[in-house]
């Protein structure tokens, strides 16, 4: 009986403390809801609406009917037409499209006879899932054929770009760069600053001539070095053990990583101004990390996600960083070609910096 009184006392105390830690309390409620929505909507193994451009060299009724038939599968979403296969390749390299369809001028005859593939599907096979989708598309029944035999033949020839063997490491290692940097950069900065507040160091520091900017810069710069070291480790080991290539320029890769590191550090700073304990700083980091892993395109193809999840993903720095690293490492794209993603990271850095500076005060109240 007395034992239950004691257990009850501890239990009541624990519940009261939990109720007063508002952040933990909010996480208890929002974590399951967020995870359920993210996993429920984002995880979609049957990929649909892949962004696709088309070259229609034939321009005939048949070619239009073929395009129509492809669009009706809902596997692709045709976002535009270009004149040459070279332009398709360029769009693939920039990451604008996941798939290109090239229809030759003699497509009518090819379809009718069914002796040769009627058209070509060019797919960004860095993510092996997409290669599977492209192959599935080529198995589409040929309703244009004249003979039964021709009907059995594949309409499309699949050309797999960037990762023709379909090795998943090629896709995952660049993605891991994003995951690791998000985790360590955001958490380290947030914790490093909160630690000073928690241990009382800040009260001494803010009475010295150190300015806000000096303090933040001095605290954050070491972690820039840490981040670059992590990038080098991942690229080195990825290449050595998993044969993951760096096809684009190393300079661009490090520049993009530097931008991402800076954006993450500014987010870490911002978090540090919003929380008051190291534990809360870590909770807040996971609150950012989880959607980053699920929605950035690290785990699931971006195009396969529902629109609302895509919008959410656009606000995450990791989404833009993954576009940059995969572009540079696998598709030999230059930073200039990937400018929109680089600019998104820059914007994130700016917003984080401004908000953190506004919130960080050299005072206690």
């Amino acid at each position: 009986m007395k034992r239950w009184t004691r257990i009850g006392g501890i239990l009541t105390k624990e519940l009261k403390q939990l109720g007063r830690d508002r952040l933990s309390f909010a996480l208890i409620a929002s974590m399951p809801i967020m995870q359920l929505l993210l996993f429920g909507y984002a995880i979609n193994t049957d990929v649909r609406y892949l962004k696709t451009m088309v070259v229609d060299a034939a321009g005939s009724h048949t070619s239009q009917a073929l395009i129509q038939a492809v669009a009706e599968t809902q596997v692709v979403e045709i976002i535009g037409f270009v004149a040459t296969p070279q332009e398709l390749e360029a769009a693939l390299r920039r990451g604008e499209i996941a798939m290109g369809i090239a229809i030759p001028h003699d497509v009518d005859r090819r379809l009718e006879r069914g002796d040769r593939p009627a058209a070509q599907v060019m797919v960004d096979a860095a993510d092996p899932t997409l290669l599977g989708v492209a192959r599935q598309l080529s198995g589409m029944p040929n309703t244009f054929a004249a003979t039964t035999a021709a009907r059995q033949a594949d309409i499309f020839e699949t050309r797999a770009y960037y990762n023709p063997e379909g090795r998943s490491a090629v896709n995952i290692v660049p993605g891991l760069l994003g995951v690791i940097l998000t985790m360590t950069m955001v958490m380290f900065t947030a914790v490093a600053i909160v630690k000073e507040t928690e241990r009382g160091n800040l009260e001494f520091l803010i009475n010295t001539p150190v300015s806000n900017g000096e303090l933040m810069l001095g605290k954050v710069l070491p972690y820039v070095g840490v981040g670059l070291l992590q990038v080098s480790l991942l690229i080195g080991i990825g290449r050595w053990l998993f044969d993951v290539p760096v096809r684009g320029s190393m300079g661009d890769l490090y520049l993009a990583s530097l931008l991402f590191i800076a954006a993450n550090l500014s987010l870490g700073l911002l978090i540090s101004t919003l929380v008051s304990t190291q534990f809360q700083a870590m909770q807040a980091t996971f609150f950012l990390l989880l959607p980053s892993i699920l929605l950035s395109g690290f785990m699931f193809p971006f195009d396969g996600m529902p629109v609302f999840a895509q919008w959410l993903a656009e606000t995450l720095p990791m989404t833009h960083y993954l576009r940059l690293v995969r572009g540079i490492m696998l598709r030999e794209a230059g930073l200039v070609e990937l400018l929109p993603s680089a600019m998104a990271l820059g914007a994130c850095l700016l917003v984080g910096m401004v908000l953190a500076t506004l919130r960080f005060k050299k005072r206690l109240d």
């Binding site: 800040l202 009260e203 001539p209 300015s211 206690l364």
Partner: protein, 314 residues
């Protein structure tokens, strides 16, 4: 007293107030802290000592009132006074995972000191830290940490040193050493403002301001405060202190009774003629003996805080 205020005060505050959500922590405080002296803030917990010190160095924004520190207006020009003030926080605020020498090197760089090596060497010697130089601060005793904190607070030779309950985690002998260091600093011209709730510490200050619930209820030298005590102090030696205490407390001439083992320290109204004799007569059947005694700082403190209302309406 006139010579103390001859030069412009180092700290001058008028009508300084701080309102937190529901409590008025500091209420219309006026302060004039003279140069080169040790001024004590004496007050119970929650009397506004820390809040006042934090407002003086620009850590907290006053709700209202004007503050001038070393000729600069605070908090507007708080940045200008930072290099000239030293601040020792109530909670130890250096890095426990760094060594003594590393902490001091860090502080010296934060203040961008020239010839920092010599400065570090000088404070390490002055505060007997030489043997501890390579020890991590987290492994030091309370008294040793205090010396490191003081060394860090004065390494840039501040003109004003603010100490917020500096000796709360320190044993009596370390505390004595600590105060000797403070007197050395004051003799060298440093103005020191120290908050405390220890009477023996307050006794050592050149001047005292007693704070109670955010208001300054008395100020002056410890001597003057004792001399001006608006009541009499009687020392009672009783055979049965518990019952004697109850009897005294019920008497309307008695303001307060404090038990110290067998003895009772009794504050008696000023309008009672010859208080010791009066109490002797009052307690004649108990065999207690009474003697008039000189007021201590604790009596001053009790009179200024707990008895303030009573003393005002005789």
């Amino acid at each position: 007293m006139a010579d103390e205020v001859a030069t412009a005060p180092v700290i001058r505050a008028r009508g300084l107030s701080k309102q937190f959500a529901t409590t008025l922590a500091v209420d219309e405080l006026d302060l004039d802290i003279p140069t080169g002296r040790i001024t004590g803030f004496l007050g119970p917990n929650g009397s506004g000592k820390s809040t006042t010190i934090r407002m003086l160095c620009g850590l907290l924004l006053p709700t209202s009132g004007d503050v001038e520190v070393l000729g600069y207006r605070v908090p507007v020009d708080a940045a200008a006074i930072k290099p000239m003030i030293g601040y020792m926080t109530q909670k130890f605020s250096l890095y426990t995972d760094l060594t003594v020498a590393e902490n001091l090197q860090f502080v010296a760089r934060v203040y961008a000191l020239v010839r920092s090596r010599e400065r570090i060497g000088a404070v390490m010697e002055r505060y007997w830290l030489g043997d501890l130089a390579n020890q991590r601060v987290g492994t030091l005793s309370g008294g040793q940490r205090q010396r490191v904190a003081l060394a860090a607070a004065v390494i840039h030779e501040p003109r004003l040193l603010l100490l917020d309950e500096p000796t709360s985690a320190v044993d009596p002998s370390s505390r004595r050493d600590f105060w000797e260091s403070l007197f050395d600093l004051a003799a060298a011209g440093t103005t020191i403002l120290v908050s405390t709730h220890y009477m023996d510490e307050a006794e050592r200050c050149h001047r005292l301001a007693i704070l109670d619930r955010g208001r300054k209820v008395a100020d002056g030298t410890p001597n003057a405060l004792a001399n001006d005590l608006p009541c009499q102090v009687v020392d009672v030696l009783a055979d049965d202190p518990e019952s004697t205490r109850a009897r005294l407390a019920a008497d309307n001439r008695v303001l307060s009774v404090t038990q110290l083992g067998q003895r009772l320290r009794v504050l008696v109204r000023d309008d009672v003629a010859n208080a010791a004799a009066a109490l002797q007569q009052f307690l004649s059947d108990t065999g207690a003996t009474t003697a008039s005694t000189r007021p201590s700082l604790e009596d001053v403190f009790v009179a200024a805080t707990e008895l303030r209302e009573q003393l005002r309406t005789p």
